[in-house]
């Protein structure tokens, strides 16, 4: 009998649903008198009147229950979506109703119950998706749909009463500046690191003694704690700016964008160079011997054989760099480099949790989108038919 139950009920589904039921008891939202003080937790059934809570609660229960069956993955995915829709509905109704008569400065924030339920529903969706194992194109389409739907929810204004959106509303311009700066730091350093790292990787592949000199140095740089690295850049660039005439006019100064950018480039070099070397070495020896024996020049072997065969490994290096830099760029906020880190550190100084979230959440989402996109690219770069063979 237990075996039969096992084949009907999904193991992870049972686990997540159980956790979800417990999470229903945790405070779903918090209500505070202003943006600084700690809020008071409100359970999910108290966030609004019964006419709003009952459908929302039912949606959550349905979403969790649909996660149980082992066989119907599409149903489980749909269930997770229903659950997430119910979360948004409860937030929407809850923020309006809790703020009613609570005073001008009152704030409603997201409670631990909400975060747990969101995480559980996303894990359920991920579990169902991984069982469906969609191809790279399908994954790209799903990602695009998820981004468009989320953007529509955010732009529709239904959540503007939440504290984090109040924080956003009062610094809209700064938010977009920070977003551009953050993207500039993460992607710009990626481009520069790739421009330096790919050729360096090719030379390291060809020259064993260069490799044994370069890789340990890059590994050492990688071990420097990020705060220290950003710190080192300040006096270093300040010295350059004062010692070399014309440097200051070119924008070389101790704090701001440039030192943060340089630190990120330095961190990026090891994954790029190491994965380039590994990628070039992925070509089977007999394949290279055949290429040499048929009269391909070294350049032709590199372009026609080694690069295409090593591309997935090299792209995997770029994926590491991109996700790492999106996270590290937060630290740039400390040395005036801008980016989402600015809000995180402002929020820490003011003990304003929702301001911290305004910096942290976009960073996490950006890293997630980048990771999924890069995974899709890595898969597309696999030479045809080698995926199965």
């Amino acid at each position: 009998m237990p075996n039969r139950i096992k084949s009907i009920v999904s193991g992870p589904g049972l686990f997540f649903t159980g956790l979800g039921l417990v999470a229903l008891y945790a405070p779903f939202m918090t209500l505070a008198a202003n943006r600084i003080v700690a809020g008071e937790g409100v359970p999910v059934w108290d966030v609004a009147g019964p006419e709003a809570v009952i459908p929302g609660f039912a949606g959550l229960l349905a979403g969790l229950a649909l996660g149980l069956p082992a066989a119907w993955q599409v149903l489980r995915l749909t269930g997770a979506m229903i659950g997430i829709a119910a979360l948004i509905w409860l937030l929407m109704e809850g923020s309006t109703s809790l703020l009613e008569g609570a005073g001008t400065y009152a704030r409603v924030s997201l409670g631990s119950g909400f975060w747990c339920l969101l995480a559980i529903l996303l894990l359920l969706a991920a579990d169902a998706l991984s069982s469906l194992s969609p191809g790279p194109k399908m994954r790209g389409a799903l990602l695009a749909v998820a981004i468009v739907v989320s953007a529509m929810v955010l732009w529709s204004g239904v959540l503007t009463d939440l504290s984090i959106f109040r924080e956003y509303a009062s610094r809209q311009d700064a938010f977009f500046n920070a977003a551009w700066r953050h993207l500039g730091l993460a992607f710009g350093s990626l481009v520069v690191a790739a421009a330096i790292g790919f050729p360096l990787g090719v030379y390291c592949h060809r020259n064993k003694s260069l490799r044994s000199a370069v890789l340990p140095v890059l590994s050492f740089l990688q071990t420097i704690p990020s705060l220290a690295m950003f710190g080192i850049m300040i006096p270093l660039l300040a010295w350059v700016s004062s010692a070399i005439p014309g440097a200051r006019e070119l924008g070389v100064v101790g704090i701001g964008f440039l030192p943060a950018f340089l630190a990120l480039v330095i961190y990026s070099l090891l994954p790029v160079v190491a994965n380039t070397v590994a990628g070039l070495e992925a070509t089977p020896i007999v394949t290279l011997d055949a290429a040499r024996g048929m009269g391909m020049t070294r350049h032709q072997r590199l372009i026609q054989i080694q690069l295409p065969l090593g591309l997935p490994v090299m792209l995997a290096g770029l994926r590491i760099v991109l996700v790492q830099n999106i996270g590290l760029a937060v630290i740039a906020g400390l040395i005036g480099g801008g980016g989402f880190g600015t809000f995180v550190f402002q929020g820490l100084n003011q003990t304003a949790t929702d301001l911290i979230l305004l910096g942290a959440l976009p960073t996490v989402i950006l890293a997630l989108i980048s990771a999924i996109t890069m995974d899709i690219l890595v898969e597309l770069a696999r030479p045809n038919k080698m995926r199965h063979g």
Binding site: R292, G293, H388
Partner: protein
């Protein structure tokens, strides 16, 4: 004609190939056979300068290879190796067209040539052109590897253990195919193998190498009947020698008048096959046919005397 003239390769003070000279006639197969470490692969790789000789020279149709740019030389010489070395990210057609593309042939010419070769190797172009190596069987991959080596109609085809990765049944078929194709195209082939059986089957000439030196170079029959050293005798294999010898001769060579009972055998079959048929069916004579018509018979007695006759040359 390929002349290898007093060629030596020294690694760390020890000669891997030691003053080897031999001549390979056009449109023949020469099989270099030896144990691993005998220097046979190094010798082969010095012909297309994947390994640069320490001294000595190789001449192709009288022209010393040392004077040619390496890559230009290699594009004139076909190269097929164990484990085929096909490009996994290119289709069959692109793999076969690799050298013609390096030589700058135009697209139509490459297209036609690829189809020609696929037909020659009994792989219908429509079915195989657009496949990837991972979608082929081991035998098919090996055939594509040889087709690729032949694509630009090279002066010489070098093969390093080309059938080493194949299982015995497919290997026999591949050897037969190679023999047929070599006769059809008139290719000059220098082939390296550790398998004396293969060398005897394929080679018009067999060169035996031991510890970097060429110890004997001659026709398969000479190697079997007159091994120059203990080592060659050991390679030829004492017990199997008469059978190996018989496998070199065809039924037509000892055909006699008269009739015999039972299933006939083709005149192109080897005496070894004829012997096997006699023993298996318990007959003293087997009818011989040409294109399905009876032309005579072969007797057990004649096979026996033939095996003896060459075994102890006067």
């Amino acid at each position: 004609m390929i002349e290898i003239d007093n060629i030596t390769k020294v690694y760390d003070g020890r000669p891997a190939v030691d003053a080897v000279s031999m001549t390979i006639e056009s449109a023949t197969i020469t099989a270099i056979v030896g144990t691993s470490g005998s220097g046979k692969s190094t010798l082969l790789r010095m012909v297309n300068r994947l390994v640069e000789p320490t001294s000595g020279q190789v001449r192709i149709n009288g022209e010393p290879t040392a004077g040619l740019p390496k890559n230009a030389l290699r594009r004139r010489i076909g190269y097929a190796i164990q484990g085929h070395g096909l490009f996994p990210h290119h289709t069959v057609a692109r793999n076969i067209g690799a050298v013609p593309r390096l030589l700058g042939w135009d697209k139509d010419k490459i297209y036609t040539r690829v189809n020609e070769l696929l037909d020659l190797f009994s792989m219908p172009p429509d079915e195989f052109r657009d496949r990837y190596p991972a979608e082929l069987s081991g035998g098919q991959q090996q055939r594509v590897g040889v087709a690729r080596a032949l694509a630009s109609r090279p002066d010489l085809l070098l093969m390093d253990e080309p059938f080493g990765a194949l299982d015995p049944i497919i290997r026999t078929r591949a050897q037969t195919d190679l023999h047929r194709i070599q006769r059809t195209l008139g290719s000059t082939i220098l082939l390296v193998t550790h398998d004396m059986e293969e060398a005897i089957q394929l080679g018009d000439q067999v060169a035996v190498m031991d510890q970097g030196q060429l110890v004997q170079h001659g026709t398969p029959a000479e190697i079997i009947t007159n091994p120059a050293t203990e080592f060659v005798a050991e390679m030829v294999g004492g017990v199997d020698r008469p059978l190996r010898l018989l496998s070199l001769l065809s039924v037509s060579q000892i055909l006699e008048e008269g009739a015999a009972e039972g299933e006939p055998i083709d005149e192109e079959a080897s005496l070894r096959e004829a012997l096997s048929v006699c023993l298996w069916s318990g007959r003293n004579a087997v009818p011989v046919e040409r294109n399905g018509n009876p032309i005579g018979r072969v007797t057990l007695e004649a096979i026996r005397s033939r095996a003896e006759g060459i075994h102890e040359p006067s």
